[in-house]
């Protein structure tokens, strides 16, 4: 879920979660759906900054993102100056990259899909992978916890056997009052924490309430951190599928 959330931060498709509520409607599933309802939308436009922190340097990237549904996303880099104008187009599971400096559109090769996107702690694969929190996982409600003074539901997600997911399990902290995901932990097959994602700075955007800052903390690299903040976001904008084309990828400028 949280990766979807991040993915939504980039390609800002605040997608429609599976409308088929086939799963038994447990309390845990209901909480998750509530949380997803907060961020879901059919289309959106947002401006973001991504800060990559490393022990010896920090890098800031600003971008603008359009999204439509689950499948379409377009992100334009607006800063730093050297990368300005670089754009990414996502259609389904494929990603293209427009590089104005060499006047080329490059389809992201598989080897680069598993590298950190723009040098961050999230791989391109993480950002576009589509797994369904509701359908691919079994949900268990754990006792409530208080996280930084916010009372949270704690939900443990264990993948269903046939689901194509990479995590051994996911643990989520969702606030009781406003259903915001304040924290998620991603575990590998050995049940060790691989990534922690911390959400903060809740903000009212139209009818919705969102967390506008997210920190990704990879456990195996202390001192490494990726922070994503969004400045502005607008939901349910009028945008068509044709917008997400290779032609438009070349044309789009701010």
């Amino acid at each position: 879920m949280t990766f979807r959330c991040i993915y939504s931060l980039f390609f800002i498709s605040l997608f429609i979660v599976e409308m088929v509520y086939s799963q038994s409607d447990t309390e845990a599933a209901r909480i998750i759906r509530q949380a997803e309802d907060q961020v879901r939308g059919n289309s959106s436009l947002g401006t973001f900054t991504m800060t990559i922190e490393r022990p010896d340097y920090t890098r800031n990237i600003s971008m603008k993102s359009w999204a439509l549904g689950d499948d379409y996303g377009l992100t334009l880099i607006t800063a730093p100056a050297r990368d300005r104008g670089t754009a990414f187009l996502k259609r389904g599971r494929e990603v293209w990259n427009w590089q104005p400096s060499i006047d080329r559109v490059i389809k992201m090769p598989p080897s680069m899909m598993s590298q950190g996107w723009m040098g961050s702690d999230l791989t391109t694969d993480d950002l576009i992978r589509q797994t369904s929190i509701l359908n691919d996982y079994a949900h268990t409600l754990l006792p409530e916890e208080i996280l930084d003074g916010i009372t949270c539901h704690v939900i443990e997600l264990t993948p269903n056997e046939e689901a194509a997911v990479v995590w051994g399990k996911i643990k989520m902290w969702i606030s009781k009052v406003d259903y915001l995901q304040y924290k998620s932990e991603f575990f590998d097959e050995d049940m060790k924490v691989v990534n922690t994602i911390l959400g903060s700075v809740p903000k009212q955007v139209g009818k919705r309430k969102l967390l506008t800052r997210m920190e990704v903390l990879p456990s195996d690299k202390p001192g490494n951190k990726t922070i994503m903040t969004y400045q502005e976001i607008e939901f349910d904008i009028s945008i068509k599928e044709e917008f997400f084309s290779l032609q438009n990828l070349r044309r789009i400028q701010g």
Binding site: R54, Y57, R59, D83, N97, Q99, S101, P109, M112, G119
Partner: protein, 408 residues
């Protein structure tokens, strides 16, 4: 005494075929041991020289983390002052700073991974003689704004030709995007297939621009004026670069697996050599035995007519020594011819062998070293074998019963 010398010479030329066979067996012994050892040592020397010249230098300066994690983020800046200090060291011949990284290259619809070496053209040229590898196009100079050299294997894989623009796409320094496009200015061919399939050289300022790693290097190769006493050179360089938080490595510590392979190969060669010594020793012994048997009657007669046994012993020993000398000298001459030829005209071993050699980063060619020490050592070994064998006729004469010998 003079008479014995005289007799020895006469005996030698009396039966030329016999002399020839004995001398030939010694000749083969000398020739085989000398050329085999020279070839074995020569091939390793050749390869290590290659490694030192082409990839590591005698000593290499790196950032401390690069050895465990050879990525661009482990590159470093080094002050001109430190570089000058290193160059001023008495034993330092040349230095060659490089920036090296992996990247994807694309031409039309093909994409291949490549290793990019950002180099100062004149420094690279003086250390690795890169321009000798050029097979088409033009070599680059420091002033070239956009000329890259692509290895022929990569050119084939991408379907490139001279003047085509090659697209670079990958990750640069500290998470930046590495994107660039430059025309192919020259095509080089590298002896190691693995490298030939993926190597690109470009002037350092292009590499800096591509990876956004301005003034950064991943390594500085330092070449010494000679191969000896690298440890003092290593510690001198280390003292200079430690002030900048950098490390210096000797080529041995950068290539431990190569050194191990060399030791294993040397150990197995040693066993082969001992077997070879044994074989040649028995070969010589065989001809010696034959000769003595042929001449038992003659020796019996000589003792019967009053020749002292000591005189006869001296005679036989001298004969054998003269034959050994002839054999050894011709053996050395032939070995010298073989070794010199292989040294100056190495013989390629073909593609199948190349696959095997590639694992060790070696070029599959037969070559030899011109190390006089090997000549002396192997000649000495064969001389010892011959000296031990020459005791046999003495013992044989000591035990000789003239009556039986004549009747035999």
């Amino acid at each position: 005494m003079r008479m014995i010398f005289h007799m020895a010479f006469r005996n030698i030329w009396r039966n030329r075929r016999r002399t020839f066979i004995t001398a030939a067996s010694i000749m083969f012994a000398g020739m085989l041991t000398i050329s085999m050892t020279s070839i074995q040592t020569g091939m390793w020397e050749n390869m290590l020289q290659n490694v030192v010249d082409q990839s590591t230098g005698h000593v290499q300066i790196q950032s401390p983390g690069f050895f465990d994690e050879p990525t661009l983020d482990q590159s470093f800046q080094i002050s001109q002052q430190s570089l000058d200090q290193v160059l001023d060291l008495k034993k330092v011949d040349k230095i060659n700073p490089r920036l090296e990284s992996f990247i994807l290259t694309a031409y039309e619809d093909r994409t291949r991974p490549a290793i990019v070496f950002g180099v100062h053209p004149e420094k690279e040229e003086s250390m690795t003689s890169l321009s000798n590898r050029l097979i088409a196009g033009k070599f680059f100079t420091a002033d070239d704004q956009d000329g890259i050299l692509v290895s022929s294997g990569l050119v084939d894989r991408l379907g490139l030709s001279l003047g085509d623009s090659l697209v670079f796409f990958g990750q640069g320094y500290r998470g930046s995007m590495a994107v660039g496009m430059w025309p192919v200015q020259g095509i080089i061919t590298l002896p190691l297939r693995e490298l030939n399939n993926q190597t690109i050289y470009m002037p350092i300022h292009l590499a800096w621009d591509l990876f956004q790693a301005y003034d950064q290097y991943t390594s500085v190769m330092v070449r010494s004026t000679n191969n000896r006493d690298l440890s003092s050179l290593h510690s001198d360089i280390k003292n200079i670069v430690t002030q900048e938080g950098l490390h210096a490595y000797t080529w041995e510590s950068l290539m431990p697996e190569l050194l191990e392979a060399k030791q294993i190969d040397e150990a197995s060669t040693l066993i082969t050599m001992y077997i070879l010594y044994l074989v040649v020793a028995f070969g010589i012994f065989g001809t010696l035995l034959m000769m003595l048997n042929e001449r038992t009657y003659e020796m019996g007669v000589l003792i019967s007519i009053g020749m002292k046994r000591t005189q006869l012993m001296l005679l036989m020993w001298l004969e054998f020594l003269i034959m050994a000398l002839i054999g050894l000298l011709t053996g050395m001459v032939i070995a010298l011819i073989i070794v010199v030829y292989l040294h100056y005209f190495p013989v390629p071993l073909g593609d199948d062998m190349q696959d095997v050699f590639e694992q060790f980063g070696m070029i599959a060619q037969l070559t030899a070293t011109l190390n006089p020490f090997i000549f002396i050592r192997e000649t000495f070994t064969v001389s010892i074998i011959v000296s031990i064998l020459s005791l046999y006729p003495i013992w044989k004469i000591y035990r000789l019963n003239p009556v039986q010998a004549i009747r035999a």
